[in-house]
Symmetry: D2
Subunit: 340 residues, 4 copies
């Protein structure tokens, strides 16, 4: 299945960790040893100044993270394909009251000058005040921001008095692809608050908001509870973090997904009438394919149509995707194409 990396299941070591954490009673809501251990691992990854808050899912992490960097009269600047703009059923607007202000992305990415264009709204009482830029790394189109790009966006944002949020639901794939420490791609380039996801990368369901400024983190615990993202049996979210972060499982998983996407992209290169759309830099392959082959191909390996018009499809590789499955899929694409 190439539908989504969240179609995958739980990595065996994550399930083992959950089982190990299942010993007797533990104080609920995060005052337990597993949460302490998870927090310590996150601080060692992201820096001693990082404050983590575990959440249930990615939308929850995004909204919670944004809630501490924008007031209701603020606007959240992001590209028109970002998850917070298109795939959260308006959770940011409802929960925060703020405006999601989208700009056209180039290969899914926004640029510093697009941030600067919002400066003219500052101080004008009729307009939402730009307060945060939200970037997605890797983007929803499977492309990557380079470090210099992120640094320039953050500089433009900070110069305008804005904060920087990163949707890192797949940050692992970026770290693996760029061979960079997570801190290098976040705190070091000027990210103020991060959504860090493990669910798509082998966890059962575990995400975190990482805050890089203690002042921002002060009241986040209340926000998490009020936003319905506080787990009572927190140790089982924490155990997933421990399993994934100890021994770099999160990076190995992501590296495999990236490799499989590249293998798939390479495999289809020679297939006529099928063409890649964006550079394959993480674990997503977007391709234009003849409309007639979609249904039968989906029956062999399920995936989603991204844009019905051209049409464009999205094929996501996962932490557990194998060479054999990719090769079979490439073969299927070739056969379905030939059959037209």
């Amino acid at each position: 299945m190439f539908a989504s990396d969240n179609s995958s299941g739980i990595h065996p070591r994550v399930l083992e960790a959950i089982a190990r954490a299942n010993q007797g009673h533990a104080v609920s809501y995060g005052a337990d040893e597993w949460t302490e251990r998870a927090h310590a691992l996150l601080r060692s990854l992201f820096g001693a100044g990082a404050t983590p808050f575990l959440t249930f899912n990615g939308t929850g992490a995004n909204v919670l993270g944004l809630s501490v960097v924008t007031p209701p009269y603020g606007s959240i600047v992001c590209t028109d394909c970002s998850h917070v703009a298109t795939d959260e059923c308006g959770a940011p607007e409802r929960i925060l009251g703020a405006k999601v202000s989208t700009v056209d992305g180039h290969l899914g990415k926004l640029s510093p000058d697009q941030v600067e264009r919002f400066v003219s709204n500052i101080g004008v009482q009729h307009h939402n005040q730009p307060r945060v830029v939200s970037v997605t790394q890797p983007t929803e189109l499977g492309t990557l921001y380079e470090v210099a790009e992120l640094r320039e966006i953050a500089a433009a944002a900070h110069a305008a008095g804005m904060r920087v949020h990163m949707d890192g639901a797949r940050l692992a794939n970026a770290c693996a692809a760029l061979d960079m420490e997570p801190r290098t791609l976040t705190a070091d380039v000027g990210v103020d608050v991060l959504s860090f996801g493990l669910t798509k990368n082998g966890a059962m369901g575990a995400e975190a908001v990482i805050v890089f400024d203690a002042e921002i983190a002060r009241d986040l615990a209340y926000q998490r509870k009020q936003q319905m993202q506080l787990a009572s049996k927190m140790r089982f979210l924490a155990a997933q973090f421990v399993a994934m972060l100890e021994d770099d499982l999160w990076l190995r998983n992501a590296a495999n997904a990236n490799r499989m996407a590249t293998r798939l992209a390479d495999g289809i290169e020679s297939i006529e009438r099928v063409a890649g759309v964006y550079p394959v830099q993480a674990n997503a392959v977007f391709a234009e394919v003849p409309h007639e082959m979609i249904a039968s191909l989906q029956e062999r390996h399920y995936f989603y149509v991204w844009e019905p018009d051209r049409p464009t499809v999205r094929w996501m590789a996962s932490y557990d995707t194998t060479d054999a499955v990719v090769d079979d899929f490439v073969q299927a694409i070739r056969e379905e194409g030939d059959a037209l």
Copy 2:
């Protein structure tokens, strides 16, 4: 530990079900076989007209359930000790915009005449319009509504054009204690929407909104997503429901917790200076104890102080509480009392 039933871990059969559901890929967000099976089991419990929506946690289930029975200008009538009023950091107000209107509970319960008093607000534009009564069964004080009481409250609510929500985070304990079908305590008495919890009863983290009126259920999927309660790897929430509901594990677990609470209540009856506060009808024991013994007793078996003034403590029994642990705790209470 008698701190809370959510201090307990995962029942082994629940963990096994999660492991069994962990086979290959599955379409995310609920279009999978486990979710289908969980829904079928819930419909068999609550009636063919019941529509279930799985959520992450109890606050999420309560707010989501209430969101389809009150507009922002509505009020949610409940007792002053109910979870939606005191323990959700204002999630109902923030997410729904509605007012939580509390009345003094008697043994944690509200009465039909307290509902009727809100009728005078109907049609007055300055006042929140009473739209839903929220009852908790068993109550936060460990007491139970009888069927006749629920029926009268629902009748009063419906007569006033209001809906009835039940916070059933511990509904299993009520069903076990009263030896009644869940349908008898919900749909049959006039409940319109239910929060049905498993987390405190042996699950890792799995709750559901059950809607008994198809009209109400129509747009609930969007509400769930926007309220950040839609799990991507839904099958693992669903598997918990399957394990708990198949073969009545949920009832056996709850029955054990109830028995242990009664055993504890019986055990302390003869201890001087320690006195039960409310009738023990489910799995909670509230007791007044001398202030001086609390700290040392907490070191032996942890629990929470409920009201610091008198002081009153809360002792929660859990699905995995054993006779031996209860007896040891009773012994500890006796010793700490004697040591004063």
Copy 3:
């Protein structure tokens, strides 16, 4: 009519000022000379550190003022009869997301120890964080806080890290009754943000939020616009302030209303079966009257039944209530009583 002080019309001098402001074009949204003059008058009344924001109505002023002193996870502590709790159809909850936490008032007033009881919620993530105490001066029951009472409440609030909001929809009546400067009853006792009303006192419709801390005021302009309280033709709100504040019209109006309430209270003292309920300290008289006389008395001079049970009625005097009208009303009460 003794229904409400907002049943009264516009004082002739207010209407004259609106007419005077109606000269040619003026830049909209507050950048005009009348607004500048109104702001200057408000600063001269409330101190140079006071920042005013004009609004349309009292609910708008209350919610806007509260919006800068509580986050969504905060709670607003006030008495159960305060306007923000009972008469704004839940606007605070909807617009702010915060909880309105009511305490039983004594003669409509709250006490410092009622504030202190919320301290135990501080730092507990499950509970709304107490962030602001809202007092009403005079209260909804026509009683007055003394300066010392206000100072103690503010001290308790500030000690707990809370702010103090005053609903001063009738502050003029308090100033007139106590013969005190508005600053003495607000900034000097520790009020952080004030709703200052003129509508009930002779204006057509003009209220203001007065902020006593520049830090709080920083982003209030955006809040006002987003909360739909920014008037385009602001000069006509401002002109009402100018007319009322120049030459102390606001105090003379309020003094008359207070005198008429006292005259009414004195007049009914000797009437059998009619009894005053609260001390008459401003412009409201509450009385218990026989149920049988209410309808016929309302036909002669309209008023509202406050509590149907006992029953209790409310008689409000206004800036334009005359001796003759009060005396006629007293006579009517006597006659209706005799007729029973």
Copy 4:
């Protein structure tokens, strides 16, 4: 001044009506004779099935009107230059929780196919559900929808299960320009809810939500109060409606503003380096002018720069703009142009 039509003052007859309404006491919050008369006039204009709700300002009317046609998980489809999208500091998002989904306007107008593109979101739980199309008549660019265009948009919206909202802050200018009854441009083309403004057209501050479907109107009174748009001394809002609607003052005022805009557009036609941008169909003239002449021209007759880049300026004619002022402005433009 050509800054905005809300820079104008109050028409003398409106002020007279306010003075006439200022007789003695009246029951507040709308239960008075003037409100009854205003409602009757509005029903005679918009049809017997129209239900009016008076509000303070245009943002209030827009948000209140939209509140009864979209749930929080809905989206409001409108052009990127519409007032609800750009000039309300995010009030729709904050108050409604819904998403404002903008499309590129052509001459400020949206087209039926842009509505149809949202149909693919229907039923997908990840996306806001399209529930209402909001059109502005005349548009923010001073252009007009023809009746056929409106009818097609409404048909597309209704076919998709969406409602139609019209921002008619300047509907009078459309009615005057097209010589059409207001009903013809609203209810008859399929508009479900209308914001009908008088403030820019000679009132002091008076707007209304007009609902064309009784079902929608049912709970609007509570929404208005909770959204802080309920005036206590309602008769003075109502009096403005009476003065404007009796004897067609609203149409004569609008016709004058339209004529003055046309006179201005005609006047600048022969001026070099100054060029009109959009068809002048109501009371707005947009022109590209040399950057160097803006400041000195603004000193002679104030106006706003619309887009600093090209640059484009906006000149608004008002109900009280005279031939002489227009001619003087044209002369000023010519002189400033020549002086370059």
